[in-house]
Symmetry: C2
Subunit: 339 residues, 2 copies
């Protein structure tokens, strides 16, 4: 079947194609009667407007781009679900891209989403994010840009983040309350704000409980099980090995636990471990792992709401920074005492 | 800085905007000298072509849409990684959408991707996929469409799938070789070809080894841990309970194992379990779970290659059906005997 064009409608009604186009786009120069006639004829002829051409005209594609480092982390996929739950009912479609933590890919993706005329971009910065020009460019195009979890400090750009310091504080305080005396901290990349904040929360909890901070107890690793194992091995080789680990990631915590069990440590009796992110596997391990929950669903919904506010107010430069509270999920890996 | 338009170039050269546009789009009606002049001036004035407008003209956006039921299954995220590894170096950008298994959403997404002028769609059908019209429509638009894993039988549409029957056969045969006499099968949705094939492979292995097929031993469940637990409970309540389960999903296998341990069954001594998909958690459980690996990375790379072949040959209707071989990863949950 040949596709109906505005020329077919024009011919049918004996008016110009320009008039048809204006009528379809609700141009005030066209009378209501003509508009009705054009719409009825368009329907009769099964005319479908090219949504992309419309997007070019109106600047609204009803697509929102979501950019994450990786789609296969429960945290990110749950944030995306939150965004979809909020935006789908409003007629927005969510297009997802992953940066694999690469700065160049992040720039390409942002440019690509702009070229695809997205109505907004909701992004968690990649670990190797390069500069802020691509983010400022989005703003200059009057397209809402909202950071979640991993933000950059840019004037006029909104964000939804977790109070990472508070989460780390809770985890460390909990380990202290379990009677742990030498608490190590596994981190990832201290160039990222979230890991800086987790370290700060850990240090603050130690300080508030009169415990000394030992730099040897802080190890940076990749977010991998193997790295967690290696780090645990290194920590246990110290002259004064720790009796607990607060890991800034769940996979790191898992690797540490695997090593500790290999060398015969009893968890939680001899050694306590707490992770961060509350990835599903932490629950269904035979030894369930305590972890800090980051409220990803709420984070996604909140980021989507900030986007909707900006779209509705037609002002992308109202800066709004929402900080969500974490909650510690205490499980067997750190539960020496009940209560 | 004001954006340079084709009108600025036209003014600079004292020619019409239409000529500039034709020159930029390499129209044969424009002389080579004029083209060179226009390009040089465009460069001088820092003119940037609107990629989307270009896409509308050329029909090439360099975006490829990938549609999956869920992004947070290791199988799907790994297929996507395979697609990206193959397509990114060729300058294609991958845009991901998830259907959450909803048929209506699948239709919307496909339409939306077409509106966004994607150069191709690589899709795993949703569980509630409705009819084939939206798929045939893609083909009618001369846009390559490739199914992976979950395919629909549509003439002219290519696919990359796993030999699911073979995987199920391997798993069941392995359980028989371990000495299991009463092997149950947990499945998901027998309206999907992949699950039909897994059931068929299971039955074939039983038949080839002279074991009777017992319909009571086949239970359909949602891909969830709780459903796996319930199903195991039901199976263990049969007059003649099974001594092994081949589950068509890993989460089902995990739920079954949780229940079996609760009632004091020793795994693998008393009861063997094999899953399907080789999700990462199957390896890092304290009791690692045997599972059928689906070669997701290879599946993604192969689907991407089929897309590239179609784009390069400019023929979206060469049907190519690639079937990959599964491999059984034997782990503790089913390893009564070594070797």
């Amino acid at each position: 079947m040949k596709k109906t064009t505005i020329y077919d409608i024009a011919k049918e009604l004996n008016i110009t194609a320009a008039t048809v186009s204006r009528a379809l786009n609700d141009n005030p120069r066209i009378s209501e009667d003509t508009k009705k006639l054009v719409l009825a004829t368009a329907k009769k002829l099964n005319y479908k407007q090219n949504k992309l051409a419309l997007a070019l005209k109106s600047g609204k594609s009803k697509n929102v781009g979501v950019v994450v480092p990786y789609i296969n982390r429960n945290f990110f996929s749950t944030v995306i679900r939150g965004i979809e739950e909020e935006l789908n009912p409003k007629g927005y479609n969510v297009i997802i891209s992953q940066t694999h933590e690469e700065g160049k890919k992040e720039i390409d993706i942002v440019q690509n989403l702009l070229n695809a005329q997205v109505d907004g971009i909701i992004i968690s910065a990649s670990r190797q994010s390069k500069g802020n020009d691509h983010f400022k460019y989005v703003l200059s195009k009057n397209v809402p840009l909202i950071f979640f979890d991993r933000k950059k400090e840019i004037e006029g750009i909104s964000s939804v983040t977790l109070d990472d310091a508070q989460g780390a504080y809770q985890a460390t305080k909990h380990l202290i309350e379990q009677g742990c005396k030498h608490i190590a901290h596994m981190t990832i990349d201290l160039s990222l704000l979230i890991y800086q904040n987790r370290l700060a929360g850990y240090k603050q909890a130690l300080a508030d409980h009169g415990m000394e901070f030992n730099p040897d107890y802080v190890i940076a690793l990749q977010s991998e099980i193997v790295a967690g194992k290696d780090a645990a091995k290194k920590l246990m080789g110290l002259p004064e090995p720790p009796d607990a680990i607060f890991s800034a990631t769940d996979l790191g915590a898992l690797g540490a636990i695997q090593y500790l069990r290999e060398i015969g440590k009893k968890i939680p009796e001899d050694f306590c471990v707490v992770g961060f992110s509350n990835e599903p596997f932490t629950q269904f391990m035979e030894l369930p792992i305590s972890s800090v929950d980051q409220s990803p669903l709420l984070m996604g919904k909140t980021a989507a709401k900030v986007f909707l506010e900006q779209i509705e107010s037609n002002d992308v430069k109202i800066e709004k920074n929402v900080v969500l509270s974490p909650s510690l999920e205490i499980r067997k890996s750190s539960q020496k005492t009940l209560g």
